[in-house]
């Protein structure tokens, strides 16, 4: 639980302070220790703060929200198949 709180705070702070690749790293750490629904909210924060229509990113100003949602879904599927996560608490 303490890890989840710690990485959640780091993740949300990184959306304002650190470059995007640091935010992605913190998102991965959060997914490793918790279900990680927070990363989708983090994607929304990035998009609302910095987002604009980018022709090369499917013209969507919600690229990070989509990216983090996909990350979450992939982690959900992976965790179902990993023995390490066959635990009700995770």
């Amino acid at each position: 639980m303490i890890y989840r709180i710690f990485f959640t705070i780091l993740f949300f702070l990184s959306t304002f302070i650190f470059p995007w690749y640091a935010t992605v790293c913190f998102a991965l750490l959060l997914l490793a220790v918790a279900p990680g629904y927070e990363i989708i909210m983090g994607g929304l924060i990035l998009d609302f703060t910095y987002g604009t229509i980018v022709p090369d990113f499917f013209t969507s100003p919600f690229s990070f929200t989509i990216f983090f949602t996909l990350m979450f879904i992939v982690s959900y599927i992976l965790k179902k198949h990993l023995v390490f996560y066959q635990d009700d608490k995770r």
Partner: protein, 270 residues
């Protein structure tokens, strides 16, 4: 419970789509709709939260920079100082050569009754383009300072680098022309030749590319100009790619200023 019943309930409980995720999806859609209905209400809130964070970060960074300067070797600082002095002299000489052209430009503007430089406001950069992949940055001036959407943004030396994407009360989001896929009309040519209008496509981070017929003669180091009246330098050609079987050539050019090292920009007030 038999083994089959246990297995079924295990598979059922672990294959069901998690309810919290459905709730998060509904929440995300609701937030996006709310932001749209309030004309960027959530973006405004995030920017007002972000301003003190960004300013504190800049303050901490300045402190670290001062500390690192104080412990830097004195010799290397003197060498750097000497190199920069030489660079200043070289640039001043180059600027003298442009003085005649600038005077001529002012004269023609007066004749065409397009006199008067645009009014500009200086803005400090709060969050740099490397924060996300959007090639946008945040500045500390907004609606209350007279900034409007789509206003032109200039870097050092009057180089056009982008436009205002969205304006908030005290901040603005600037979208660079080099945003991946963004198309901008530019002028290509050299002294003594006719300027050709070409479409440049952004590649991110101050880089652009354009495809032009091979008949148009260009060289590495040539300038690319903005298509607006009084066209400032938009970029400098870095590489020309030609394939014998292709009737077109690909020109790669980049902005003459390093976007990542900018601390302030100028925004046109309309």
């Amino acid at each position: 419970m038999s083994f089959l019943q246990q297995n079924k309930s295990y598979v059922r409980s672990h294959s069901r789509f998690p309810r919290p995720l459905l709730i998060v999806f509904v929440l995300v859609v609701a937030i996006i709709l709310f932001n749209h209905l309030t004309f960027g209400g959530i973006s405004r809130i995030l920017h007002s939260i972000g301003v003190p964070v960004w300013k504190s970060q800049a303050g901490v960074f300045n402190v670290f920079q001062s500390v690192s300067l104080s412990i830097q070797d004195k010799k290397s600082l003197l060498a750097e100082n000497e190199r920069l002095r030489g660079e200043i002299v070289r640039l001043e000489l180059a600027s003298l050569g442009n003085l005649v052209i600038r005077k001529e430009n002012e004269y023609f503007r007066q004749i065409l009754n397009r006199d008067g430089s645009p009014e500009l406001v200086v803005a400090a950069i709060l969050a740099r383009p490397n924060r996300t992949l959007y090639d946008t940055f945040i500045v500390d001036v907004g609606r209350r300072d007279g900034v409007v959407q789509d206003a032109l943004v200039f870097g050092i030396g009057g180089v056009t680098i982008g436009s205002v994407d969205e304006v908030f009360a005290h901040t603005s989001r600037i979208s660079l022309y080099s945003t991946p896929g963004r198309k901008t009309e530019v002028l290509l040519g050299d002294a003594g030749t006719e300027l050709v209008s070409v479409e440049a496509v952004g590649r991110g981070g101050g880089d652009f590319e354009m495809h032009i017929p091979r008949g148009i003669e260009v060289f590495e180091g040539h300038a690319v100009y903005s298509s607006s009246l009084g066209g400032s330098i938009f970029g400098v050609i870095e590489e020309i790619i030609t394939i014998p079987s292709d009737p077109f050539q690909t020109i790669l050019f980049s902005s003459p200023i390093n976007i990542q090292s900018l601390h302030v920009v100028s925004i046109e007030l309309q």
